[in-house]
């Protein structure tokens, strides 16, 4: 029973891990993309559509990622190429992605697919409790791998250093000869790819059907998670599991008749995020790792 609940926690946190890790990279490069919800929906509809047309859920993963990346390119062209306001463009991306996914997905409503199979890793999956970590699907394993890769690239490679420096001060980075816009473009595209994967996880694993707006706000939770995790990849993963855990716990609490109101538990992750935001805005000694030029547009001036 505990194992079934733990699996539910892990599965419900996978889309958040993927989308939040992508957003983290974009934000580290200094671009705030509020369009995560829209990109996730595009990933969801494309993932489902490809899986439904080709009959292969594995191709659906790729389709989802690419769709998220494509629509993030629109955002990148506006924000980086035309230096439009990042907040407004990001919100527009969410509205655009929601509408476009609904339009594309209209003929897909009501279809059912098989979804990704469980990939049970022999032997280790028999272990008590720990075993559940080896009874997941390919995207869940992949999400952990991608978090590790992101953490490694950001912290231990030259490219990661350049990316972070672009986010901290684009003028200095530019003066040093780093291609600010190109780095940001790649970061935004990576964010779109990851959000697309996160979105595709919904129809491919969690609920094997497509319906309009099926992410129901998970893109916004992913955005909050990045702040909650103070821009550190492993903390994003931990935060996502914590969030998933609280979601499942409040449902368990209701089923078991606990005295705590379910709304209180549902509120906790958001509450924690607000506290982190307040602490950041106060500044001071605690370092949270917010990129200094987050949300600021870079204009090449001579």
């Amino acid at each position: 029973m505990a194992e079934a609940l733990l699996i539910a926690v892990l599965l419900t946190s996978v889309p958040l891990i993927l989308a939040a890790t992508g957003e983290l990279v974009a934000e580290k490069s200094g671009v705030l993309n509020l369009g995560v919800e829209g990109m996730m929906l595009m990933g969801a509809v494309a993932g489902f559509g490809v899986a439904s047309l080709t009959g292969s859920a594995y191709l659906g993963i790729i389709g989802g990622g690419l769709a998220g990346m494509l629509i993030s390119m629109v955002f990148a062209i506006f924000v980086l190429g035309l230096a439009t306001n990042q907040v407004a463009t990001g919100l527009a991306l969410t509205i655009f992605g929601t509408g476009l996914s609904g339009l594309i997905g209209a003929p897909l409503v009501g279809q059912a697919i098989d979804g990704l199979p469980q990939l049970i890793i022999p032997w280790v999956s028999d272990l008590y409790i720990i075993g559940v970590f080896f009874q997941l699907d390919i995207m869940a394993y992949l999400s952990v791998l991608l978090v590790g890769l992101t953490a490694y690239v950001l912290n231990y490679t030259q490219f990661g250093l350049v990316l972070r420096s672009v986010g901290i001060n684009h003028d200095s980075a530019h003066a040093l000869g780093y291609p600010v816009l190109r780095v940001r473009f790649m970061a935004v595209l990576f964010g779109g790819f990851m959000a697309g994967l996160g979105g595709a996880y919904l129809p491919l694993v969690l609920t094997p059907h497509w319906s309009e707006g099926m992410t129901s706000g998970r893109g916004w939770i992913a955005l909050a998670l990045v702040v909650f995790a103070s821009w550190r990849p492993w903390r994003v993963a931990a935060g996502a599991v914590l969030f998933g855990g609280v979601t499942i716990m409040q449902l368990v609490g209701q089923a078991r008749g606990w005295a705590i109101p379910s709304q209180f538990l549902s509120m906790l992750p958001y509450f924690a995020t607000i506290i982190v935001l307040v602490l950041i805005s106060r500044g001071g000694r605690i370092q949270f790792g917010a990129p200094a030029h987050l949300g600021k547009n870079f204009l090449i001036t001579r």
Binding site: V109, L202, L251, A255
Partner: protein
Amino acid sequence: MNRSILMLLIAVVALGGIYYYNSSTETEDASADAPLKVGFVYLTNPGDHGWTYAHEVGREQLQAHFGDRIVTSYVENIPEGPDATRVIRELVAEGNQVIFTTSFGYMEQTLKVAGEYPDVKFDHITGYKRSENMATGNIRFYEGRYVQGVVAGLTTESNQIGYLAAFPIPEVIQGINAFARGLRSVNKDATIKVVWVNSWYDPVKEADAAKVLIAEGADVLAQHTDSPAMLQTAEKAGAKGFGQSSDMHKFAPNAQLFSSVNNWGPYYISQVEKVLDGTWSTGEGPDHWAGNTWKGIGDNFLVLSEFKNMPDDVAAAAKAARDGIANGSLNIFEGPMMDNKGNSVLAAGDTLDDGGLWAMDYYVEGVEGNIPN
């Protein structure tokens, strides 16, 4: 310079639009034989399952019934907020003489626009406020849930039923209690665990709640939320469940026992018929009770889909309950009835009237826990 030209263009286009719009409404008024225009406001895209889909099926039946005597149209994805007022007004402006607003959350907005346009007839679905030109249509959804309870009670082996509920409003409480009455009529040991997902539609959360209920021992699930996610989860886990609003069999071919299908067609047809022959009325008095239609299985407003994935004797019991409700021989809320704290709610022989149904603020025997406030 460029910008001012652009502004000018926008102004020209906008004025042209207003002119066109005015001229089109004038032609509407000119011809007396023009078909009656009937507009619908939908909460979501109709898709092919769930609440709005059931309304769309009803609209198609309505259109087919009257043919070219009426023209129907709908607007979809209208949130239950202040913006609905604007959308309803637009439907009036387009010349619709009958407007159906198909979700509880449109009640105040419909009432407001109804006050502004006394010549247009408004029909609000599932609400309780009415006026001279605003009627209410509703289905006795809870009747289907009693039959679900009967089937659940005969199907469960763990005697644990999981129930996904959206919001603690009277309609949902009625449903839970009717389900419990059906459950306890055949199985005194079974209990219902209710989980509130605080949303009508959140597939991932509905799936999570279903997983939790199954992990907690439930083997039959019921839902008062809109997506097929619960049934898909039940299908995967080998549990059973009931669909919502429309037949969801194809999402869960082995798990769906049956679905209570909302059949709005007969209501829409009868209301438009009354408009066409001039007998449409919501009656007298402040509450306009004559404008209230609330019917169920007996009047074909609620249809139960084919009973599947159950042995013949269970299907027979379900049919007996369904027919008993339809012909009035079975009263779901008839005493003795106890609440789940052991207090008597109805003495033997007493029955609950409609007012009592809407005032339910307790769970009956068989439901675990308390209603959240």
